[in-house]
Symmetry: D2
Subunit: 188 residues, 4 copies
């Protein structure tokens, strides 16, 4: 399968740091899959102007096509103004309405304190659900104090990221199985 780890912010380093740890976890355990980390900070995206994603060129075309080609998307996001950043929402706006159909999507959030723990649940999941994602229910929420020198310094957080990667891949496999059973039941 094709795994994309998507860092949804252009500010700060913590989401990137956490996703890099997730990427290494994926490489260690799922080296037979394609694994790609895309950091919005490294790409110069346009604001969605309503066109189909295939009609964008340059970085906007590159990133949207990479996400659309994925079977699995692990979204990393900070919390800005009690919600997801405009940069991440803009990327989601660039994708089709059902852009996550048949994709397994999981979430990893970084934040200043635990007060915003419910934000991925309340702001991001409903968007992913609307876009038809197969959502991994449990997400990893990492607080500022779990980072130092661009490393995760908390064993429990590392454990939870490893488990998130594993659950996401297993979930995607189970979903493929679910699809096969459904198709079989219709005699496709």
């Amino acid at each position: 399968m094709n795994i994309v780890l998507l860092a949804g912010s252009i500010v700060g380093s913590k989401t990137r740091t956490a996703l890099e740890y997730a990427e290494r976890s994926a490489i260690n355990n799922y080296s037979d899959h394609q694994i790609q980390l895309i950091d919005l900070a490294e790409h110069d995206l346009q604001f969605s102007d309503g066109r189909n994603y295939l009609d964008y060129e340059g970085d906007t075309g590159y990133v949207t096509k990479a996400v659309m080609d994925a079977d699995i998307v692990i979204i990393g996001t900070p919390i800005f103004q009690a919600s997801i950043p405009g940069t991440l929402k803009n990327l989601l706006d660039l994708l089709p309405q059902d852009g996550f159909r048949d994709k397994t999507v999981s979430m990893l959030a970084t934040a200043g304190s635990s007060k915003h723990f419910m934000i991925p649940e309340q702001h991001l999941k409903p968007i992913l659900g609307y876009m038809k994602a197969q959502i991994v229910q449990t997400y990893v929420y990492i607080e500022e104090r779990n980072f130092a020198n661009k490393e995760i310094i908390d064993d429990d957080v590392r454990f939870r990221i490893n488990r998130l990667v594993e659950d996401t891949v297993t979930h995607a496999k189970a979903y493929k199985q679910f699809q096969k059973e459904k198709e079989a039941s219709y005699g496709f």
Copy 2:
């Protein structure tokens, strides 16, 4: 598997009507499973007083044990005051914190208008997720105008309920498969 269809309200007939249709759909297609419709209107539940569900007797004990014994729960709910009814929330309060762990849970909502379409997404899903349910993302939302004489009069609604039942069962099967694979990978 053990399928419980749960009508979460003690007022009105529409949620019950919709769940009865879902029950017939389940019986027609999954007669090898146990199928039970529980309507809170037919049971005299206490308010949760913080005890473990096993310590309740009478209707409260009966209903909570039936839900806890299920592999699949299809929750039917009306929308009251822009959220789920107190009767349904009270039942959820009676269950353990992780009461839906390893259960597949799907939702069917009835409402006066389409304005409250997002309520199951925003009010019920986060609760189910907190209780560790495997949530079927797509839910069936039925408006008052789709009912007449305690029957669903809209073919599309009937089609969507049939598909909800099918997706729920297929989802539960895929989840069992997911669990087996996880256990196998750990050598359990």
Copy 3:
């Protein structure tokens, strides 16, 4: 004005403890107002069966009428299953659809950890808004560790409760002013 402090749970003591502190704060500063603490734990409420609140007798009739007669309602609630308790939701179900019209309503929540800080925002405010409340935006969220021996042991929490009471009353006064201006502009 008529101020009701409403403890929305029948389990535990922390919400009651916090509301009692708020009640003392109200008595100290607004002794010219009517002030009443209603604790659902002391009343035997029925589940809402769809009737108008005026048609209930006994405790259900008493509590609903007391809330409907209030100009100000300060709701105290614990967090159960990542939302408000069924007992509180049931009380709200017992009230008319626009039961908080022209009332100023504020919130005080108690919880085990700061992870559920957004629950009053995401679960309770939309219900209050639907019921036409004038909502005091800022709420007081109190964690378990801020209590000992049925007292609040944190000065900052006490300060925030005092401020909540003050803001709620000032907000209610400003709203009365707002109404007067609106009526004047229509020549009522």
Copy 4:
């Protein structure tokens, strides 16, 4: 007072059309106030890179300063992917954390169907509350079928926009009164 009407999208015409109607309503009734319509489609904004809004130049600096100088902000937004557009969220990210402190903010949403009626409540209000806005509870939600030839063709919608403008200004006046009373009580 200084009233800004903010069109939060760069795609489509309906939000702009609705805000232009609101602008005319404001001009007709509150000509003694400063009134300005800012349409993000007419400005080339950068993505927030974490700097203070005063450090941006060009369109980004212009728009953020205009919003920060407002006493009243009427936000117009379409619904994209079951939430607010990335363009609007980016503007909010550009503002300080408490950027709406002491400002009265109201909302007007345009959408394809009534199914997303709760999105302003669930996605936008919590952000505005976090940013310390004085939120006008009731918002105007306008469906596609209420527009034709870049005009609002529904009398009820026009009535509701007029009332929104009026309520927003009256709310702002009442809030100024609330502030005065608070300051007086502290002897400022």
